[in-house]
């Protein structure tokens, strides 16, 4: 029985580690500036995880194999432990675990401790149940005022843009986010109803959109293309369908798009969405 259990534990260990090792199912190729640092931190962590996991399981299996009751006449070892060992493994694990936590902070700090760099492209994101609205500032680069009382679904004014505001004149709202490649992007995240979450796997980026709050976050996407955008916080019945796209466009294409008047903006977006294809390999 002991040997069978040991073998099963080892087989499960090999299988589990193997699943991570072959990387058949892994992160999609990253496109954001912070992603390489994040991916390497992930890799480092998963190696520590894998080694600790393997060591513990191999050790467990070995104990189970070696110290099974084989009808020996002598008794088990009589010991109540070793303070020296306790101190050693407490310190070793503390150093490794807390060290990992501290190392992980640099990516976090670069994303969250600082304001977006000057010159960042600004988009306001207004989520609502099962639909994304991206509010573009237009040529003047200033987002028009919005107010919830002005929301009018029949007029397609989903986010309540105040038409009286001069800076709102050239604003555009679309369900797809188009951002420039290689330039910092600052999102202002809001929600009209419940909590949603802005999640693009290739960005390695996620942030809740909380009603009553305007959360500002920033990142830089480097690789042009079309990517799927998902809601990753349970928001109700059709949560699983709250999907849209993120278009990362070369700078000139993006600048041209943002300069377009509203009606042409919509057409051009449709063209761009058809032009770019989703990544085929993940």
């Amino acid at each position: 029985m002991g040997r069978a259990l040991a073998v099963i534990i080892w087989l499960l260990t090999v299988g589990s580690v193997g699943l991570f090792f072959v990387k058949k199912w892994w992160f999609p190729t990253a496109i954001s500036e912070h992603a390489p640092a994040l991916d390497s931190q992930f890799l480092l962590t998963i190696i520590v995880v894998g080694l600790s996991f393997t060591a513990a399981q191999v050790g467990l299996g070995w104990m189970v194999w070696k110290y099974r009751d084989r009808g020996q006449s002598d008794r088990a070892m009589y010991t109540h432990g070793s303070n020296r060992l306790e101190v050693v493994w407490t310190i070793v694990t503390a150093v490794i675990f807390i060290g990992l936590a501290v190392m992980g902070q640099s990516v976090w700090a670069s994303l969250r401790f600082n304001e977006a760099p000057a010159g960042a492209f600004k988009v306001e994101v207004v989520a609502q149940q099962f639909q994304w609205n991206f509010h573009y500032a237009g040529t003047d680069g200033v987002l028009g005022r919005t107010h919830p009382t002005l929301i009018d679904d029949s007029a397609l004014n989903f986010i309540g843009i105040d038409e009286a505001d001069p800076s709102a004149k050239d604003d555009a709202v679309h369900s797809v986010i188009a951002i420039p490649a290689g330039r910092p992007v600052e999102l202002t995240l809001r929600s009209k109803d419940v909590i949603h979450n802005f999640w693009v796997p290739q960005l390695r980026f996620k942030q809740d959109l909380v009603p009553g709050m305007a959360i500002r976050v920033h990142f830089t996407a480097n690789t042009p293309g079309k990517y799927e955008l998902a809601c990753a916080e349970l928001c109700g019945q059709l949560h699983f369908k709250m999907r849209s796209f993120m278009l990362v466009l070369p700078t000139d294409e993006h600048t041209a798009l943002m300069g377009l008047p509203q009606d042409q903006f919509q057409t051009r977006m449709t063209e761009l969405l058809a032009k770019y294809k989703l990544p085929t390999a993940y």
Binding site: F53, Q57, R75, A101, Q237
Partner: protein, 618 residues
Amino acid sequence: MSGETHETHGAVHRHEPPTSFIRKYIFSLDHKVIGIQYIILALVAVLVGMTMSVLMRMNLSWPGTNWPILGTLFPGGAPDGMMTPEFYLSLVTMHGTIMVFFVLTTAPQGGFGNYFLPIQIGAEDMAFPVLNMLSFWVTFVGFVVILAAIFFSGAESTVGPIGGWTGYAPLSALPNSGPGQGMGMNLWIISIAIFCVGSLLGALNFITTLLNMRAPGMSLMRMPLTCWAWFTTAVLALLSFPVLLGGGVLLLLDRTAGTSFFIPGGLYIGGELSGASANFPIHTGGSPILWQHLFWFFGHPEVYIAILPGMGATSHILSTFARKPVFGYRAMVFAIFAIGLLGFFVWGHHMFISGMSPYSAMTFSILTLSIGVPSAVKTFNWLGTLWGARIRFTTPMLFAIGFVSLFVAGGITGLVLGQSSLDLPMHDTYFVTAHFHLVMGVASIFGMFAATYFWFPKMFGRMMSERLGRIHFWITFVGVYCIFVPMHTMGIVGMPRRFAQFTEYEFLATLHPLVVFVSIAAIATVFAQILFYFNLVWSIFKGEKSGANPWEATTLEWITPSPPPHDNFAGVIPTVYRGPYEFAVPGAPNDFIMQTEPEPGTVPATEGAGNGHNGHRH
């Protein structure tokens, strides 16, 4: 710890047990009957929860398939045999709620804790038997209310509210935010509030009993590790459930009285602005994140409430069948306390991307990874206990070893999730689902399986079938690895939790074979549990007679007959002379020495440091 005393030996005289059926089995004051009642409650609840998980897996793996049986059973939720998304999401909510509250909190603590804590410390009952009875029946009412939410969810197509077990506001706070947010959500909140009250009464009893009713000689450092685990769990419950209760009251007021604790102003839902009509009153000034703080301040300790008793049982059982004292008893006690204490300061790691301050996220991240230290210490000590052992592979031992394996497998990925930066891609993906199911769900349940197989002879006077138990172990052990390890890789790809279908996203298509594999493994594992239920029922009537101490164990529950008499020790309060795990003592006649054995050989005349005496003042 306490200066409370119990100076006297018990004299030989007995309580007469009650004779009427109702006082004996229904409204019993006997902690053993109440413990079994809790276990039965958990056994029923886990059936409901498992059935729901099977339904969920069916929906995820074979989208668009027509299941005629579903259409018949749930004409509203699965018209034409195909599940609606809201039906799926209500299953998610109810599965989580029932499993966390009515299985993982009731069985380890209310069930086994109630039954064995008094016996293991040599008490004849809990400190407040009436309160104990009340805490069970309050919990039972909570369970009835959550079941009522299945039938009166307020929408034809759901079997409960939609919110996950976390019930994030304002989705949960606004009755008009979708199907399933009606009466079902009210019942959900009320059920949890009732459950909080029941747990608090239980915790009160546990703490008082342990501090005040230990038998003579049972110093704190002579208690079995199970008692330490139950005690710490009770303290966690005592300090965390009131916070959830408070939060629940606020949420219910938001839903029914029009207050705005969790609802900010200016919301616009379903074509209607807040305040525009009577069924969407005007709200202002609330904070959705406040709910998350209150919930997770409870929610994180709750994870430890679920698993600490399993850790205690595992230490206890490993030592018994390794025929060796627990390695590092004192370190184990400190680790339990460290886990419990740190558990109160890490709730923020559930909220890294919620919009809270990035600086507090950093603090929470570092505190979270430091919780890995006492967890690792426990693992090392378990391995140390097995080192140089003479392991007897009984079914409880298999499950205890399985617990260690699964605790490592599930816990270690906390190193990933505890880092705020890595939470950016991982948050709310199946990586999280895999992590907490393995560690809080499956590992805890393995602890309870071990406890069941171990203590069943004491509870019913008969052994469970070893053969069935072993088959049950092998299938379940391999099964849970097959279910939950692949879920990690799904999470790495980016598969979000709480999706009713994965068909909408192209980047998830590649995962379909894994999803199906997991579902098949899950369904097989669930069906293997029939063996366990059968074994339980069969063994109560047909199991081999066990005698008082079938496992040759050392603690107080094994000195009394199986099942124990009404007042546990037939009127004699036992006297304790030594630590709980005296196995393989050199020179002793047997390889185990009961805690009550006063013979020479192990009672030290001098008090060496660390010997565990005087942890308690007499």
